[in-house]
Symmetry: C2
Subunit: 404 residues, 2 copies
C-alpha cells in the first residue's frame, strides 16, 4: 500500500514559489533575529492566534489582515515580543507592516507580522527598519533554513518539517517552520508556526482544515501550562503546483488534510521535545470518556500536573498522582472503574493498583524518551489525545534565569 | 485598643478537655506514624473534605460520621494514604474506626479517621490495630506536640498554632495542628488539619464558621496546583470553657470567628512556608475585579503559573509572565487598564510596563522571604487574596524522588 503522503526533509521554502531571508538586526545580543518569508504570487492565507487577553500588537494586526483571506509575506522578529507595549508598540508593529509592504511593493494588508521574545520592552525600530531593507534584498529560494533559525528564542534547535503528496496527479509540497519551547500549552503557546504549500487551495477550505489541524497538533501539546501573548500560526497556499483548487469537494482533499496534520504534528512534537529541559515526551490518551470534553479535561489535568510531570522526570514507578490529577479534572467518571496503562503495563484496574506491579518494569517504560500513558474511564466512547513533556530541575533552573 | 484575640504557642491539647498520643507503628520506616486525639466529652464537630473524585476510604467514612454533628476522637496515620485501595482499603478504614471506638468505649459514629502518605498501598493492619491500643493507653493532656509530629509526611517541620480570646468574659482557647507541604492547592490539599476548642459552640454554627474559615485559609494556599485524595479538616468544640454556646446570635461570635480564621490562616501559611523546597511566600491580591469569581480566577492563574513561580524562585525582575497568566485566566477585564505592584513598586500601569523601572529594586522585593503582589484590574470592586509559594529546583528534585 502506497502511503498517501511522505514526510521529507525541508521547510518553508521547500514548496515551489516561496523565498525567505534572515538577518541579524541586534534585537537579540548574539544571533539572527529577523526573518522574512515571501510568496511569489498572491497566496491564500489562513491563520489562528493566541486566546490570551493580552494580545500583542503584531497579533492584532495580523488577525485583522487575515480578513482578506490572501497574503504575500510575513515579517518576523525574535528577541522582543512587542507585547504589553501600548501605543508605542502598536505603532512599531504598524511600521513593520508598512516598511515590509513598501520594500516588496505589495499592499500593507497582504503582509503579516509576528514578534516573539521578551514581554514589555519596545522594539529598537531603527534597527528593525534597516533590517527589513536587508531582508527584502536578500530573499532566497533556499532561505528557509536561515529563517527557521532566526525566529528561535529559547529553542535548543530549529524546527522545520515538510511533507509531499499527490494532488490531481501533481506533486504537492507542504513545508513549515516553528519556534517555541517553554510557555507551551493548548490554545496556542508562545509559538510561531508558518506553513507554506504550493497547492492551490480554496481560502475558506484552507482556514477550515488549518484550524482543525492546529486543534489536533499545536493545541495538544503542553510543556508548562502557560499560554503566551503572541502565539500565531499561519499558512500560505500559493498554487504553483497547478492543481485544481482544493476544497472539501476535491477527491484529494482528505490526503491534503492528512498530510497537513502530519507536518504540523511533527512541528508540535518538536516543540515538546525541545521543552526547555524536558527529558521525555508522553503521549496521553484518555479513552472511554462520556464526552470529548471530559476526555480533554482528564488529559489536560494529567499533562499539566506538576506532581505528575516531576514523577516522570524522576522515572518514578507510581500512579497515585495520575489518579489524583484525573480526580480533580472535573471529568465525569466512576472512580472504581478507572484503568491506567504505561505502554503495555497496566498499573490500575478498577481504580485500584494492580497487585504485584513490577515497579522496575514501569521505571523502564518511563525512562524511555517517549511513552504512552493510557487511561480508560469506562464511562463512554469519547477520547482525547495530547502530548506533554516532563518537568525537570533543568526546566526550573532555565526559567529562573531567563529574563522573559 | 485591646486585640480581640491573641496568638499563643500551643496546639490541639492546649484547649481544656483534650488529650492526645502518638505512636510509632512501623507504617513509615523511621518515625512516629499514628496519632490519636480525644475529647473528654461529646464535642460539637464540623469538617470539610477533599473535592477530588478519588475520595479515599477514610475520607468517605469521616464524611459520613460528620452527619451526627458530634464526636469524641480522631485516629490518624501517616505513611499510607489508604487511597485507591478498593474494598480492602475500605475495610481497613472501618477497622480503624471500630478498634478506636472499642478502645475508648465510645460509639463508632463518634470517631473520625484520617490517613495520609503513599497512594495505592494497603495499610499493615496488624501494626495499626496494635498501635490503636498503644495510643488509647498513652493519652496525655500534653500529647499535642507528639501528635503533630506523628501526622507529618513530607513536612519539614510540624505545624501547630493556638489562639486565645474571651467569650462571655471567660478564657477560650482554639488550638490546631496540620500537615501538608506538597500537593497543596485550593479546595483542600494533601493536608490534614485538626482544630480543637474549649468553647461551647452550636454545631450548625460551628460548621458554618469552620467552612468559611477553611475557604479563607486552607483554600487560599497553593504550592503546586495539585489536589489530593485525602484532604480533611476537622474541628472539635468541647465546651469546657463554660461559655454560653456560641452561634450567630452571640455577642462574641465575631470575635470567635476572627480568632478561628486567624489560627487556621497561620496553619495554612505554615504549609506554604514548608512547601517542599519553597524559598518564599507571595501574597497575591487581585483587586478591582468585576466579580469575586473573576478576581479568584486571576489570582489562581498567577499562583499556579509555573513560569511565574520559577521567576519568583530566581528573583527575576519581570512581569510579562504575570500578565500572560492573568490573560489566560478567563477573568473579565480591559487589557489596557491593568496595574501591577510588587510591594510598593509599580511595575505595570494601564497594561504597559512602567518606564524606567528599577529592576534591582524589584529584585530586592522578590528576594524577601515574603512579599505582596497586587493586581488592580480596574473593572469593578471585587477582590480575592491567595498565598503561593515559588517553584524551585529543590521542589522538582524532591518530587522526582519521593515515592508517592
Amino acid at each position: 500500500m502506497i502511503p498517501s503522503f511522505q514526510l521529507i526533509k525541508g521547510g518553508v521554502t521547500t514548496p515551489a514559489g516561496f523565498k525567505a531571508a534572515a538577518h541579524r538586526a541586534g534585537i537579540k545580543a548574539d544571533a539572527p533575529d529577523m526573518a522574512l518569508l515571501v510568496s511569489d504570487v498572491d497566496a491564500a492565507v489562513a491563520g489562528t492566534f493566541t486566546t490570551n487577553a493580552f494580545r500583542a500588537p503584531p497579533v492584532r494586526l495580523s488577525a485583522e489582515n487575515l480578513g482578506t483571506g490572501s497574503g504575500r509575506a510575513v515579517i518576523i522578529n525574535s528577541g522582543c515580543a512587542n507585547a504589553c507595549t501600548g501605543e508605542q508598540g502598536l505603532a512599531a508593529a504598524q511600521c513593520m507592516l508598512a516598511e515590509t509592504a513598501a520594500a516588496l511593493g505589495v499592499p500593507e494588508n497582504q503582509v503579516f507580522v509576528c514578534s516573539t521574545g521578551e514581554i514589555g520592552t519596545q522594539l529598537p525600530m531603527d534597527r528593525v527598519r534597516a533590517g527589513i531593507g536587508e531582508l527584502a534584498a536578500g530573499l532566497d529560494p533556499d532561505g528557509g533554513d536561515a529563517a527557521a533559525r532566526a525566529i528561535m528564542t529559547t529553542d535548543a534547535f530549529d524546527k522545520q518539517r515538510a511533507v509531499r503528496l499527490s494532488v490531481d496527479g501533481r506533486e504537492v509540497t507542504i513545508g513549515g517552520m516553528a519556534k517555541g519551547a517553554g510557555m507551551i500549552h493548548p490554545n496556542m503557546a508562545t509559538m510561531i508556526a508558518v506553513l507554506t504549500t504550493d497547492a492551490a487551495v480554496n481560502p475558506a477550505a484552507l482556514q477550515t482544515c488549518f484550524s482543525d489541524a492546529v486543534e489536533r497538533s499545536f493545541n495538544r501539546v503542553t510543556v508548562d501550562g502557560d499560554t503566551s501573548t503572541n502565539d500565531t500560526a499561519l499558512i500560505f497556499a500559493g498554487g504553483q503546483a497547478g492543481n485544481q483548487p482544493l476544497s472539501e469537494a476535491h477527491a484529494d482533499w482528505e490526503a491534503f488534510t492528512h498530510a497537513l496534520h502530519a507536518v504540523m504534528l511533527e512541528l508540535a512534537l518538536d516543540m515538546v521535545r525541545d521543552g526547555e529541559g524536558a527529558s521525555r515526551i508522553v503521549t496521553i490518551d484518555v479513552e472511554g470518556a462520556a464526552s470529548e470534553l471530559d476526555a480533554a479535561r482528564a488529559a489536560k489535568a494529567i499533562g499539566t500536573s506538576l506532581l505528575v510531570k516531576t514523577a516522570w522526570a524522576g522515572a518514578l514507578p507510581i500512579w497515585g498522582r495520575v489518579l489524583a490529577a484525573i480526580g480533580t479534572s472535573g471529568a465525569a467518571f466512576d472512580d472504581e472503574a478507572v484503568d491506567l496503562w504505561y505502554d503495555d503495563i497496566q498499573l490500575v484496574a478498577g481504580g485500584v493498583g494492580v497487585p504485584g506491579l513490577d515497579r522496575e518494569a514501569v521505571r523502564g517504560v518511563v525512562l524511555q524518551d517517549a511513552f504512552n500513558l493510557r487511561v480508560e474511564l469506562n464511562a463512554g466512547a469519547a477520547a482525547y489525545r495530547m502530548y506533554a513533556s516532563d518537568c525537570t530541575e533543568a526546566y526550573v533552573k532555565f526559567n529562573s534565569e531567563y529574563l522573559s
